[in-house]
């Protein structure tokens, strides 16, 4: 049993009007000329096989930052450096370590998400397909930068600045539940900010910036006493006492469990005022939800009492809960042994009944030297000689020592109900002793690979279109929700497809270590050996031979004897 709470503290406004939009973010975007920004902090690993896809976009373990920046290459390079350093200060994270050695520029993944860009193109679906040519339609050049820190620990000091961006902070509304002691004691925790440009009207004459903040956590409610019953006050140890007065909408939406055989296994307290609703057009994708409008609740008669919500199961545990079957599941692992060389294997399972187009993006640090000629593909356990059927496009950027990472990006067609496996081997580089982390024998974290795919929506799952999806539930009447946006959302909804990103595991690679106590010894010994050669050679080059005279020898011996005698 799991429970996901999604908080959409969206605060959209015109740029430079800081009544809702956080000034700190606005200034950062302005000074570094950022078009679009996505920053995600994640602790733990999302179990796709057990949990389906996350409601809000959450990344692999650690910190992930990607942004579209305006300007030419040199300017973007400088701005990206400034951006990472400033965000590092703002969020108390080590984002400044995203330097050139780990920054990449994906060619196929991480396209624009701003609706401005969707609108400015002929069809919104073109942006979602493998079209790499998005830059050509816009006037000013934009460049993508992507970096991730898999070893970054996410904790309270990152949550506090995140809360500060909210208009009501954690004083009111759903955000008042955010107690770090409880949030970080979960199986998965992810918080993000997403900033993108949107259009205000159909012809996109007026643009605005949209800031979306999300927190995703997975509670294990049965961990404590084996009971699957839960309540908000138990989970968070806090209550919602009032709705944020600045918010247009403030709702708690509950996805109800999908039980197959036994109806009415659980009881919701309180029962939603508008009853159980359903979303999804077909039987396959239908999903029951319960909506609690906090604005309405706190304006009514029960305004003084805090909002309580709990779920009680009959027999304390659910029966026959429909298992989730995510369309694409991916795993990545190291092969081989020893500290000299190794291999990387990626398994992508497509559970869909139809072929799926997907983009695979992998960033490997420069200290793993990839050998692309060892790249091999297996389909359902059989090695393929011809990659063309599966790999439509391949983009490979070789690593440069101490300068940039290796990037492998593949546009794939995954056959229906199949398992595709890639393997590539690499050598491990021997690093200088100062390049090792203080806990050298723990190894180096290698960030996750990302698979981007358009997947048909399934029941109980809301994928990457979720943010837009949720807005429909909320029926936001704010004048910012413009027709262009609705069109794009409506189209995605009609297709019943979601663009999802599947993140693989973060890996740990151990590199050969030198003896860290040896610097002086090594310098001394090596220099001694070199001096031995230099000295002897100098000797041989400068001196000549001379015969030791027999008579002289005798004399010497005689002298010695005499000396002995005098003693």
């Amino acid at each position: 049993m799991m429970d996901e709470e999604h908080f959409d503290g969206a605060a959209s406004n015109l740029f430079k009007h800081y009544n809702l939009f956080p000034r700190s973010i606005g200034q950062i975007l302005h000074s570094f000329d950022v078009e679009e920004l996505h920053l995600t902090f994640t602790q733990g690993r999302w179990h796709y096989g057990d949990w389906g896809y996350p409601i809000a976009p959450s990344a692999g373990t650690g910190v992930e930052l990607w942004a579209w920046l305006n300007g030419d290459n040199n300017r973007v390079k400088a701005n990206w450096k400034g951006l990472t350093n400033t965000l590092s200060g703002l969020f108390c994270a080590s984002l400044n370590f995203i330097d050139d050695t780990i920054t990449i520029e994906p060619k196929l993944s991480f396209r624009h998400e701003g609706l401005y860009n969707v609108h400015s193109q002929s069809s919104p679906s073109a942006q979602q397909s493998f079209n790499t040519d998005t830059n050509s339609t816009t006037a000013s050049p934009k460049r993508l930068r992507y970096g991730s820190l898999p070893h970054e620990n996410v904790c309270t000091e990152n949550l506090t600045p995140w809360i500060k961006l909210l208009p009501c902070k954690s004083k009111a509304g759903i955000a008042s539940l955010l107690k770090s002691h409880k949030l970080f004691d979960t199986r998965f925790y992810s918080m993000a900010i997403h900033i993108r440009p949107v259009c205000e009207d159909e012809h996109c004459k007026v643009k605005s910036l949209e800031l979306v903040q999300t927190i995703t956590t997975v509670f294990d409610v049965a961990r404590k006493d084996g009971s699957f019953n839960w309540s908000i006050s138990e989970l968070f140890e806090r209550d919602i006492t009032q709705a944020c007065p600045l918010a247009t909408t403030s709702k708690v939406i509950l996805h109800l469990p999908q039980t197959t055989q036994f109806a009415h296994q659980y009881e919701l307290v309180p029962f939603p005022p508008q009853g159980i609703q359903t979303v999804g057009s077909t039987a396959e994708t239908r999903q029951e939800i319960a909506v609690y409008d906090l604005k309405a609740l706190f304006s009514g008669t029960r305004a003084d009492s805090p909002f309580q919500l709990s779920m009680h199961w009959r027999d304390s545990r659910p029966k026959s809960v429909r298992a989730v079957s995510p369309g694409i599941v991916a795993h990545r692992y190291f092969t081989g042994y020893g500290q000299e060389r190794g291999g990387l294997a990626i398994e992508i399972q497509n559970n869909n009944a139809q072929d799926v187009e997907a983009i695979y993006l992998d960033t490997l640090p420069w200290y793993l030297k990839l050998y692309l000629h060892t790249f091999s593909i297996e389909l359902d356990g059989k090695t393929l000689d011809n990659h063309r059927d599966l790999v439509k496009k391949m983009f490979y950027q070789p690593a440069v020592d101490r300068a940039r990472p290796a990037v492998l990006e593949l546009a794939l067609v995954l056959p229906a109900r199949s398992m595709v496996k890639f393997a590539v081997s690499f050598d491990k580089v021997f690093l200088k002793y100062t390049e090792h982390p203080p806990d050298a024998n723990r190894g180096f974290d290698v960030g996750c690979a990302v698979i981007t795919a358009l997947l048909p929506r399934e029941r109980g799952q809301i994928g990457y279109g979720a943010l837009d999806h949720l807005r429909i539930y909320q029926e936001r009447e704010a004048n910012l929700v413009q027709s262009a946006r609705l069109e794009a959302v409506a189209e995605a909804r009609e297709n019943e497809q979601d663009k999802i990103r599947v993140y693989t595991e973060t890996l740990l690679v151990s590199l050969p270590t030198p003896d860290f106590s040896m610097p002086y010894n090594v310098i001394t010994l090596t220099c001694t050996v070199i001096a031995l050669f230099f000295g002897s050679m100098f000797n041989l080059m400068t001196r000549n031979f001379e015969v030791v005279e027999q008579t002289k020898l005798k004399e010497d011996k005689g002298k010695g004897k005499k000396e002995d005698a005098t003693k």
């Binding site: 500290q339 040896m518 090596t526 031979f545």
Partner: protein, 417 residues
């Protein structure tokens, strides 16, 4: 002191008068070497194993890091052919050298007996072709083989007096692995060895330097045309000179620069690289009458003190060593040197395994073996140089034997002053 010259030309022509058994022997040696290599190439596992050894493949010479080819058979044959060609060229160099030494001053020892001749060409070739280091780096497909071939070709052409080809070969070797650039000095010495007039020598040297520079420039230009940019310059020679890849090998650089403090790194890189090149000058001046030995010594210096040495370098200088076989009997530490080489070659793979795979050893184990190997090479250089100087002394000031104790021969007591 009277210098006595004994002409042994008649003796040597007598020896060379029977060509049939000699060519028969040669064909046996070369075909055995060929068969051995082709047989070993039949085991792909062995090729992969050897190609993966740090003692054989360095970042500069690793076949894996080159573009993989689809025709392994042809590539293998190319390696075998190059190896055999080096063997052939070594035997030819010996023949030319024997001709030279026929005219040279002979050493009188043990009364009036003359010095025995050194190894003949076939023996020298055999020594090279059946050297385990040679076979290992050939089977391991180390690209150092091509550089070695260029070096040996340069020496051979130098012996033959072919200025253009000699300089082109040295330039090719320098183009392939940079350090052989210093071999220009011994090869010029070889080319000028028969010139007696000083002006002629100078003219020759000037011509040689011009040809060398021209060949090197055209090789660079050719790569520029093929690659399309000058990036290869920094990626190839930058890696060689800056020692940016610290993959362990049997050299002295890798662990030193892994452990070196960052602020001293450029200084020590500069000192170590200058140290490799600096010996070209004093050795060439002091031993200018022995250009072949200078070539051997400089190759050994390279093979010892370069950033990425491998067994391929050892196979080159151990191949050149028998060209100066007449100095062997003046060497004092042959037993020690042989043991140091055996010890380090056998223990290096074991200690590597202990460090990288088992984890029961650490980096110091392999580093220590590298030191032992280095000391072996250093003692080899010192001892051969000593032996050469000692033999030179013997030729310049032979012992007075008439009526004296015959034991005052080549093993008489001398001191360096």
């Amino acid at each position: 002191m009277a210098l006595t010259t004994v002409d042994s030309a008649g003796d040597s022509t007598l020896k060379r008068a029977s060509p049939t058994p000699r060519s028969l022997n040669a064909s046996i040696i070369f075909s055995t070497a060929l068969a051995l290599r082709i047989a070993l190439f039949q085991f792909p596992a062995l090729t992969t194993l050897l190609a993966g050894r740090v003692e054989i493949s360095t970042p500069i010479t690793s076949f894996k890091r080159c573009t993989p080819t689809s025709r392994p058979l042809l590539v293998n044959l190319l390696y075998v052919a190059c190896d055999l060609l080096i063997g052939y060229m070594l035997s030819q160099i010996t023949v030319l050298k024997d001709k030279d030494s026929a005219k040279a001053l002979k050493i009188r020892q043990f009364g009036d007996r003359i010095e025995e001749p050194g190894m003949d060409g076939l023996k020298v070739a055999t020594f090279y072709l059946f050297n385990p280091y040679t076979i290992a780096s050939c089977i391991g497909r180390s690209t150092i083989l091509y550089s070695n071939m260029a070096v040996v070709a340069g020496i051979w052409m130098g012996m033959k007096g072919n200025k253009g080809l000699a300089m082109f070969s040295v330039a090719a070797a320098a183009y392939l692995s940079l350090y052989p650039a210093m071999l220009i000095v011994p090869v010029v010495l070889l080319l000028a060895r028969n010139d007696t007039v000083q002006d002629q020598k100078k003219k020759m040297a000037l011509q040689c330097v011009t040809i060398f520079t021209g060949s090197l420039a055209s090789l660079f230009l050719l790569s520029y045309v093929l690659v399309g940019s000058w990036d290869f310059f920094s990626s190839v020679y930058g890696t060689i000179l800056m020692v940016s890849d610290l993959t362990p090998n049997l050299g002295l650089f890798w662990y030193f620069f892994i452990e070196m403090f960052d602020q001293f790194r450029p200084f020590f890189i500069l000192v170590f690289q200058i140290h490799v090149f600096i010996f070209a000058a004093p050795i060439s001046i002091k031993l200018r009458n022995h250009p072949l030995f200078v070539a051997f010594l400089l190759c050994t210096v390279m093979g010892t003190f370069k950033g990425y040495p491998s067994f391929g370098d050892a196979s080159l200088y151990l191949g050149l060593l028998p060209l100066c076989s007449e100095i062997f009997k003046y060497m004092r530490y042959t037993f020690l040197i042989v043991n140091l080489f055996l010890y380090s070659s056998l223990l290096a793979p074991i200690f590597w395994y202990l460090w990288v795979y088992v984890g029961s050893g650490n980096a110091n184990f392999f580093y220590a073996i590298g030191l032992v190997y280095g000391i072996g090479e250093i003692i080899l250089m010192i001892d051969t140089t000593y032996a050469l100087a000692r033999r030179d002394f013997e030729a310049q000031s032979p012992p007075e034997t008439s009526g004296e104790d015959p034991s005052l021969g080549w093993d008489r007591e001398v001191i360096q002053k």
